[in-house]
Point group: C2
Chain length 275, copies 2
């Protein structure tokens, strides 16, 4: 999916919501466990209940890998289901990969060729040649970790160099030499508050993928106040707050209500920005 298509979807749906499919076998409703493919059944129900309210889905690969073969099968089926039934959805593999060039190329092949995913989250620690192999695909995206939502983001990402530049700022600056805002986005945690202002100075037009609203304590209002651009520029993710909104037979309706609430808040923000 290219940037224009993504922007149109956001405008049409009045939503920049990404639903995080962090599907944990220990947290899905018990009755699904009797079925043949509980993870896929759960995802399918969540997707059908939320697809008109969001513009993206983001399976976090850890939740599938920890189930081994069954998990990979569930992931592949989920991606294929979204791709076929809801082709306007932007699919993000939250994988946080990054390795030497020939190895990153293998990951890129796995996500972009074999699974037809739109974007992959990538860790910047290993530098340019670990990221470039992901950037060679038309209309596919790298979402580079910049300033994450967790406490540990302060350990290294905030490190200031001799020129007064913090590591996450260096990542933002340097990585723009590798690709433009038509192929690169950045992960910035909702918990980072006013750091969005500094980030927008460096990447005024890039999409930011924002986790950390909800369970992790970030505020949508604050993210929009400091991070929104005139064409939106935000994809805000919610995982647990939506997919585990309910725990019984009606879990999908509960997820829909939670997604609806998020979408309405987002519509209000978009309206305020004239989008």
């Amino acid at each position: 999916m290219n940037k224009q298509q993504l922007l149109e979807n956001i405008k049409r749906k009045q939503s920049f919501l990404c639903v995080g499919l962090d599907t944990d076998i220990k947290k899905i409703p018990d009755f699904l466990l009797d079925g043949h493919e509980p993870i896929f059944a759960f995802n399918k129900a969540i997707i059908d209940a939320t697809a008109d309210l969001c513009v993206a889905y983001k399976p976090n690969l850890a939740f599938y890998e920890c189930l081994g073969l069954k998990g990979w099968k569930a992931l592949e089926k989920t991606v294929m289901y979204i791709r076929e039934k809801y082709p306007d959805q932007f699919i993000i593999a939250d994988a946080k990969r990054g390795d030497i060039g020939n190895t990153s190329a293998m990951y890129a092949r796995a996500f972009f060729e074999d699974m037809d995913i739109d974007a992959v989250t990538v860790a910047p620690y290993m530098g340019e040649d670990s990221v470039m192999p992901f950037l060679t695909y038309q209309d596919k995206w790298v979402i580079l970790l910049a300033l994450t939502s967790n406490k540990g983001s302060h350990d290294f990402q905030m490190t200031m160099d001799v020129d007064g530049e913090r590591l996450f700022e260096k990542v933002l600056r340097k990585s723009q030499e590798w690709a433009g805002d038509d192929r690169m986005m950045y992960v910035v945690g909702a918990t980072q508050g006013q750091a969005f202002e500094d980030i927008r100075k460096l990447v005024p037009n890039h999409f930011l993928l924002v986790p950390g609203v909800g369970a992790q304590g970030g505020s949508l209002e604050e993210v929009c106040k400091y991070g929104m651009t005139k064409e939106c520029g935000l994809i805000v993710n919610s995982s647990r707050g939506i997919i585990y909104a309910g725990h019984d037979q009606n879990f999908a309706q509960a997820a829909r209500r939670a997604a609806q609430e998020a979408q309405q808040q987002m519509a209000a923000q978009l309206k305020a920005f004239g989008i």
Copy 2:
């Protein structure tokens, strides 16, 4: 496996060789492709031909993930095969993972519980809470990326802060607050030459996992000169140089010869250090 056992294996085998199982379906001998499980068949032959010459195996997960379900099955079978037939081998999942706490915990479960792997490579960018979940398992290890072997290692890892500390040095220093040398190792590329001296000042007793000898241009002599400790402290990986030493029916014997050559060089180094 604990540190003492690993040290004993190194001494007994006079080797600190790790064979990297970066098994690429496009590079294995053609005749294997006719069989039922070509990746596993290749790995099994390589393992049987090298197990007495090395102390560790390191499958890089990208090479398995890019094959989807078949790849995961091959990985699981490979790990199980090593575990059962060669229980003295240290198995490293070269995964370069790292995510927020609850997600890292899922990865840890996948590698340490479901697959009984000994160690996982982890990227430090997200800081303490992304690493800690991997450190809660008895006799399991985190191998943290410090200074990698690729060109891009210069992009961020060398960034110097206001106190004159480079990012990889900060990673080495800070991460010692999380675990000691009985549970943490570091990735340092063989191409980094004299940086090993600086690294040994910070981590005099930790094991270093060293990729980049061979195909990437690093030298074993230099690595040993600057990186070896009185109890060895090195695991040197070779992937392509060993597993693709031959391309025909005799590929396993060719791999054995390449591993033998590496082992003999290592034995000479160990002898020189009185180990």
